[in-house]
Symmetry: none
DNA sequence: TGTTTTCCCATGGTATCCCATAAGAACCCA
DNA sequence: TGGGTTCTTATGGGATACCATGGGAAAACA
């Protein structure tokens, strides 16, 4: 099986919980689940989420600088201070923290977007806009060459 | 589970006590808790705190200088003179000493910031400012250089 | 003895655990 | 192929455990 693919929109309940798509949970479990890891994206209103793979990727970036140096401290604050590790309950749900709410604008629905080695957490409407924009850009990039590939509409 | 992640702001009570975030306590316990170690940061208005991992990192740093040399002695004085080891009570609280107060400007609220191998103690408002700055710097550091030799695109 | 520190318990709010249910998907077997 | 059955999944809600916080009492200190 590959990584995280497709996207799903689930409902937030009164307690601020939302079900993580079952297929995403399966990927996390397969990669040796030790905890979900979430970090605010620096360039869009989404939160990156993943398991060990994502954490390793982030660790690698911060290890490029010597510890205790000003540069490393700044990086660590930006990376680890702006992240969190939500628990997943027995039914496969996570709670959307205030940090995620503030950064994404999520209110009552959550869109999970698979991106292979990680997935993103979006407010549904913002994701729609972002995706439309991304497709425009992709089209522009491909314009010189082959016709844009068509693809179906998942959920 | 990884190291210290996320950030929390807790309230200082009338006796000068503040709860250390439960998830941070869990990390300390997991790494074999022998005492909390606090040292004023040399380049910002925060205090570094942590357990054995932080201490090991500092030791590694000072070992770069030959023992008994003037440089090593100076460093040792600077490091250990600016540090302390606060007790943690049965409810997971520490008391904010005058040294920490003076260096951070903390009055009635304390922000704990996870940085993986250590965490920092901040006055909330100052942390907000530092964080904004840190994010700018992190962006520059990660995009300007750091050619991730692994797979392509970071986030 | 007065003051500060340390230990212990109380409490309100929140998060977590556990079970129930409904809808849909997959499955099975005639 | 079709109809019924079982499983999975998302969602709701009650009960419980945990956590941050406040305050009193005992202990240490000056």
């Amino acid at each position: 099986m590959a990584g995280f693919v497709a996207h799903f929109t689930n409902r937030l309940d009164a307690k601020g919980r939302v079900s993580i798509p079952a297929s995403f949970r399966a990927v996390l479990a397969r990669d040796g689940f030790e905890g979900l890891y979430c970090i605010t994206s620096s360039h869009c209103d989404a939160v990156d989420a993943g398991g060990n793979d994502l954490l390793a990727e982030i660790n690698k970036r911060s290890e490029a600088f010597t510890k205790l140096s000003p540069d490393h401290d700044a990086l660590a604050v930006a990376l680890f201070g702006a992240s969190e590790s939500p628990k997943i309950d027995g039914d496969g749900r996570m709670t959307i923290s205030d940090m995620i709410r503030d950064h994404t604008g999520i209110t009552d629905h959550v869109t999970f977007v698979g991106m292979n080695y990680k997935f993103q957490i979006w407010e549904p409407e913002k994701f729609r806009e972002y995706r439309a924009e991304a497709q425009r850009r992709a089209l522009a990039m491909l314009s010189g060459q082959a016709p844009a590939p068509s693809q179906g509409e998942p959920s």
